[in-house]
């Protein structure tokens, strides 16, 4: 992700500092803004909008539309972005602005247009997600992206439907007959055009949605049919309108996608024969589609000729979507033809194909990946020769390095830049030098030469703080230092971390108003968080600018830091401080989640899920299970759907765990049991499930511990009752039980003092698994069964069935006389009998004392040694020898101050205090 972000950052043009406020002449505002957009100066257009917001004298009508204008500009930015992460960020920002405008101006004349723009951005966002899906490194990541695309297309469809309703109403408000020379005539034509365009776009969304499903799948076929029907309908009703003719083209495209190449080509040919001049832009695209059909029919020679004709007909177009597609197709068809060509002709055509591909790889598009692969295939990498680079001008050498970057041949780019930079120096042309150095740092990073990358980037950032590329170099420097720290374990790690923090601080203060500055602040905060310096971490996260795209991340991290600060405050009994910090943590998490929601995050958005889980965890800790449930319920419902991407499985498990805790805390036992079943279903196989049970046990223990610490007796009772009911239900479940699940349930019933129920469970385990040949063949099966037998003895003891317990432990000890757990259990039986007045404390004390004596010489001393002395002290107390009991424990603590573990120490201390 970081590498992808840096790649994006490398490709993304920088913005420069913002000017002070100045008076803007409102007469020129709209046309000037439009001019800036048309020129592609989106950064200036956004800045100009800010100036208009602050400027007096801007007409109210325009002032109301500033959010809308910003949304439109950000859509442009997204469409023209050179990498999909940036595009997505822009689309999300645009969405916030457009939705705000639409909500604030539901009845404005421009609102229908704003809804259409919103629909368009959602459509573009969906297409962007599909580009990211193609670029995904794992199938799971691809699933996530494809799902995102489908969500965006669904939202786009819904927005187009909203727009369609409004536009239809507006169109129908015109009289049926209006004379041509009446000004209303043009307005009605314009309304009709907008209406048809919305209908057409809605069908195009269906078409793109269909393409998110695998070829040949039922969903793809059905959705393509829906789109085809919609296009056919528009064309039939409006065959003389531009939208109707465009629908005809898309109709052809649907046939093409379905593999019906004959009908597709017939439609394309029909459209190309149309003489109207205004159809030329459409025909350009139709021509492209027709060539694709030729290639699909394996008419490669004709396809190559047609591609070249297309390219010569539009010599100034090499970067549009269609032009990139044509150039890729040209290369593909050329490669398909190679075997049929004479050697001379082959070389010539191949060179032309390489030219085409070199254009395609320069631009981020759905065609790039395929073009890169093909270019690597037909133009293999050559070793960089110093004499070749020496012959090139500095600019040409940098150009060659950038070409290598497009092909992801970073080592080659590094070498070319090294040779090129040796020919140049900062004094001669600083701007070019800085750019080349920045590119070098980037390539070194991508080549995983992290230390070298950090050195080059830091040099540029510190030596030339005012240089155009220095802020971006700092981003690479920080990333390189982080990756170096994570990749290499040797050396002065503390020093490396300090150096990283110091450099990040430098970047955040040198470029405070930039994304790079924010990125550096995040780094400082995350390292402080990892080091347990929560105040420092919170300060760093809080200093991320509100306008930063990373603000929600910063807020969530700051929430974590504040929560941990609150826990520390609670430990030192500073309750007021703790409450304030907890409230702040909750508010920060809420802000982060709200910001993500506003930018269009759904219940399947991973950062939103994780933030929600964190916040729900805090709410459970502060005794607000209902709030936790409100947060997690909708997410669990969304993730519980059958098409959940594999990448969200772990998150789903976390959500269900949170939900289970919340249901337990809220006394909703049946719901908790349902959560348990879902968790089991989602929890994977065998060892995963055992781990899950263990985690669940820990979870519920923590829940009870938390209630105990808070002194919430009724809550504790409720939770224990719920827990008990939950365990009973688990045991009663006849299907899906495993050895681990039954043992876990029995163990927990035992802890709750339900000896009889635990006994039943352990007997069931022994009956089932002692006879199970498959289980017996597993490594360690007999040991595991022995432990269950011991658990059964404990259950008999807790149930007061001392005779049976004595008999069973005697059998075990006869079989395994040195088994320490069995020796311990024998002592427990003696103590329990004494406690129930069915035995003597003297006998119990003697046993524990002897056992402790046997364990004394072991090194290190096992926890059972300390446990034995503890039980011996209890026996003394039972004999009425409280002072001796206290003395015994104190003596053990003097010799072994830690008494094996913090938990044991705590037990010792509690007993000593109690005896006082």
């Amino acid at each position: 992700m970081l590498r992808a972000a840096l790649l994006g950052s490398f490709l993304f043009a920088s913005l420069v500092g913002r000017p002070a406020l100045a008076d803007e002449d409102p007469r020129f505002a709209e046309s000037f803004l439009q001019g800036l957009r048309d020129r592609g100066y989106h950064d200036l257009a956004l800045e100009y909008l800010d100036r208009l917001r602050k400027s007096e004298g801007v007409p109210d009508e325009l002032r109301k539309r500033l959010d809308y204008e910003e949304g439109r500009i950000r859509i442009d930015v997204g469409i023209r972005a050179t990498d999909p992460d940036r595009a997505r960020e822009s689309f999300d920002q645009a969405r916030i602005k457009l939705e705000a405008y639409i909500a604030a101006n539901p009845d404005a004349d421009t609102t229908s247009g704003a809804i259409v723009d919103l629909a368009q951005l959602l459509y573009e966002r969906g297409r962007n997600s599909m580009i990211q899906a193609d670029d995904a490194r794992t199938p799971a990541e691809k699933d996530v992206r494809v799902n995102e695309a489908r969500s965006s297309f669904a939202a786009a469809r819904s927005a187009y439907e909203r727009a369609f309703e409004r536009l239809d109403k507006a169109y129908k408000a015109f009289d049926a007959f209006i004379p041509v020379n009446d000004p209303r005539f043009a307005r009605r034509e314009s309304a009709l055009s907008a209406l048809l365009n919305a209908e057409l776009q809605r069908a195009i969304v269906d078409y793109e949605d269909a393409r998110t499903y695998p070829e040949g799948s039922a969903e793809r076929t059905a959705k393509l049919q829906t789109a085809l029907d919609a296009f056919a309908g528009i064309h039939t009703r409006h065959r003389r309108q531009m939208a109707g003719i465009a629908a005809r083209m898309w109709q052809g495209k649907c046939y093409e996608e379905r593999g019906e190449l004959g009908p597709a080509k017939a439609i394309y040919d029909e459209l190309l024969q149309h003489p109207a001049q205004q159809l030329l832009p459409l025909q350009k695209k139709v021509d492209y589609f027709r060539i694709l059909v030729m290639a699909k029919r394996k008419e490669h020679a004709a396809a190559v000729d047609e591609c070249l004709r297309w390219l010569s007909a539009f010599p100034n177009d090499r970067r549009s979507y269609d032009a990139l597609g044509i150039q890729l197709q040209h290369a593909k068809s050329t490669v398909a033809l190679l075997d049929e060509l004479e050697p001379g002709e082959r070389t010539k055509l191949l060179a032309r194909a390489v030219e085409s591909l070199e254009q395609v790889v320069k631009v981020y598009s759905p065609f790039k990946l395929e073009a890169v692969a093909l270019l690597k295939q037909i133009s293999p990498k050559k070793a960089v020769k110093a004499e070749d680079v020496a012959r090139l001008s500095f600019d040409d050498a940098v150009g060659r390095a950038e070409q290598a970057i497009q092909l992801q041949q970073y080592d080659e780019a590094v070498e070319i830049l090294r040779l090129a930079l040796a020919k140049n120096d900062a004094a001669r042309d600083p701007a070019k030098y800085h750019r080349a150095r920045y590119t070098q740092a980037f390539c070194l990073y991508m080549n995983k030469d992290y230390f070298e990358s950090a050195v080059v980037a830091e040099h540029l950032a510190r030596r030339f703080p005012n240089g155009e590329w220095s802020a971006k170099a700092s981003e690479i420097g920080v990333a390189a230092m982080i990756d170096a720290y994570n990749s290499y374990q040797g050396g002065d790690r503390q020093g490396d971390l300090d150096r990283l923090v110091e450099f990040a601080r430098y970047a955040s203060t040198t470029w405070p108003d930039s994304e790079q500055g924010d990125s550096a602040r995040m780094t400082v905060g995350q390292i402080a968080l990892g080091r347990g310096r929560y105040e420092e971490a919170a300060a760093a996260f809080d200093s991320v600018r509100p306008s930063s795209a990373r603000k929600p991340d910063a807020q969530a991290f700051s929430g974590d830091a504040n929560w941990k600060l609150g826990l520390k405050a609670r430990d030192r009994n500073a309750t007021a401080d703790a409450d304030a910090l907890t409230a702040k943590a909750i508010a920060l998490y809420r802000s982060a989640i709200d910001a993500r929601r506003k930018s269009g995050a759904t219940d399947a958005d991973l950062p939103t899920i994780l933030n929600s889980c964190d916040l729900a965890g805090i709410q459970l800790e502060v005794g607000k299970p209902k709030e936790a449930l409100a947060l997690l319920d909708p997410i669990a419902r969304e993730l519980g759907k059958p098409n959940r991407p594999a990448a969200l499985n772990a998150a789903y498990g976390r959500v269900l765990s949170g939900l289970l805790r919340a249901h337990v805390a809220d006394g909703q036992v049946d719901a908790a049991i349902a959560d348990m079943n879902k968790l089991e279903a989602a929890g994977g196989e065998g060892k995963d499930r055992a781990q899950l049970y263990f985690e669940l046990g820990r979870l519920l223990e923590r829940e009870q511990e938390s209630l105990r610490k808070r002194g919430d007796k009724s809550g504790l009772e409720r939770t224990r009752a719920a827990y008990r009911k939950f365990l009973d239900a688990l045991v009663a479940s006849s299907s899906g039980q495993t050895f681990e699940s039954l043992v876990w349930a029995g163990g927990n019933l035992l802890e709750l003092g339900a000896g009889a129920e635990a006994e039943a469970v352990f007997r069931r385990v022994l009956d089932t698994y002692a006879k199970d040949a498959q289980f017996s063949s597993r490594p360690g099966a007999s040991d595991r069964l022995m432990l269950v037998r011991l658990e059964l003895v404990a259950a008999l003891r807790v149930a007061g069935k001392f005779d049976e317990a004595d008999k069973a432990i005697a059998e075990i000890l006869a079989q395994s006389p040195r088994l320490l757990q069995a020796q311990m259990e024998k002592g427990q039986i003696l103590s329990a009998k004494a406690s129930a007045k069915k035995g003597s404390w003297n006998e119990a004390f003697a046993y524990w004392q002897a056992l402790a004596g046997r364990l004394r010489n072991l090194s290190p001393k096992p926890k059972e040694y300390f446990e034995a002395w503890y039980n011996a002290a209890l026996a003394l107390e039972g004999q009425g020898k409280a002072a001796q009991a206290k003395q015994t424990l104190s003596s053990v603590m003097r010799l072994s101050p830690t008494v094996g573990s913090a938990e044991m120490k705590s037990k010792y201390q509690e007993m000593i205090a109690r005896i006082k």
């Binding site: 420069v16 000017p19 002070a20 020129f28 046309s31 001019g35 800036l36 020129r39 100009y48």
Partner: protein, 344 residues
């Protein structure tokens, strides 16, 4: 049935009469108005202040300030070609064609005068890109001014001459030229503004401001004279490092001028850009110049100036790519502009 031929005849006659007339094209923003923004007829006389056009029995006197161009009946094709070359920035070729057009326009004094002024005018453009040609341009303009001292081109000729002398730093000649200019009808105001600008050129900014204030006080609200004087004053204020005052003044000029007055708006926005740039606000200046580029690009004089300045500011802001793109546009749209040469 009988009416149809007569209508056709009238239309044809009308077309013939239109084709054979001189056409005086007017500036859209001039106070003097005519149908279709042009006056058709036969040019009877031309003077520094007006051109007299006769159509039938109607005599129309068109103020020279309102005239964009005159297309003379039966003018030599070389004159049209020369204008085309000039518009394309091909000044050397335009100069030759103007000379040829003058030679071929025997018996057409107004055409000869227009052609010779064209030759002199492009010689000034050539001198701006190549200072070694300044003296040659001065010679041509001086000769033109002497020969056509009562023609309609004399004022712009003297103004061009003033610019060249200013460029050379020959203030005595500037003074002499402005004295000649101020003696011509309706040119005293322009001469006064130019005279005040000479003070600025000499570094006497306070003196320039005093003179310009007098002109501003004496000129009507919204007049070209007032606008020119205000912008010249802003220039003087910038010279005297009174940036804030200069900026306020130019912004007032912008506010006072109609939005559709391209000439005023482009000039004022470029001046605003200059003020802001001099005040160390390149980003603000960029916005001002971009107004000219994006909204007032029809002004063929101010647009290349804006492009050149935009390229410079982008470079100052370390946006080399955009600086390069802007320079490419300047070279493509105004290949022979002096700003292209200056930008190299």
């Amino acid at each position: 049935m009988s009416r149809v031929p007569s209508i056709v005849t009238i239309v044809l006659l009308g077309a013939c009469s239109s084709a054979r007339a001189d056409v005086v094209s007017l500036t859209p923003t001039a106070e003097f108005k005519a149908p279709g923004n042009a006056v058709r007829g036969t040019v009877q006389s031309e003077s520094p202040s007006e051109v007299t056009v006769k159509l039938g029995n109607n005599i129309t006197k068109v103020p020279t300030g309102a005239i964009v161009s005159i297309t003379y009946d039966n003018q030599p094709p070389d004159l049209v070609l020369a204008q085309t070359r000039e518009n394309a920035g091909n000044f050397a070729e335009a100069a030759d064609l103007y000379k040829k057009a003058a030679a071929k326009a025997t018996g057409k004094p107004f055409v000869i005068e227009a052609a010779l002024f064209g030759e002199a005018r492009v010689s000034v453009d050539l001198a701006l890109t190549d200072p070694s040609k300044t003296d040659q341009a001065i010679q041509l303009l001086e000769a033109f001014g002497r020969t056509y001292s009562k023609g309609r081109h004399v004022v712009p000729a003297l103004e061009a001459l003033t610019r060249l002398y200013l460029g050379k730093g020959d203030y005595a000649k500037v003074d002499e030229t402005l004295t000649r200019m101020s003696a011509l009808p309706q040119s005293a105001d322009r001469a006064a503004v130019l005279r005040a600008r000479v003070f600025s050129k000499k570094g006497e900014f306070d003196k320039a401001v005093v003179e310009l204030d007098k002109i501003i006080a004496a000129s009507a609200e919204g007049s070209v004279k007032r606008r020119d004087a205000q912008l010249a004053k802003a220039e003087a204020l910038v010279g005297g490092k009174k940036f804030s005052e200069a900026e306020t003044l130019v912004r007032n000029v912008i506010k006072a001028a109609p939005a559709e007055d391209v000439a005023s708006q482009s000039l004022a926005h470029n001046m605003l850009g200059d003020c802001l740039r001099a005040a160390g606000k390149p980003r603000e200046a960029l916005y001002a110049y971009l107004h000219t580029d994006l909204l007032f690009f029809k002004d063929r004089e101010q647009h290349p100036r804006a492009l050149a300045r935009i390229a410079e500011v982008w470079r100052e802001l370390r946006q080399e790519d955009r600086a390069g793109e802007t320079l490419d546009r300047l070279r493509k749209e105004y290949p022979r502009s002096p700003y292209v040469a200056a930008a190299r």
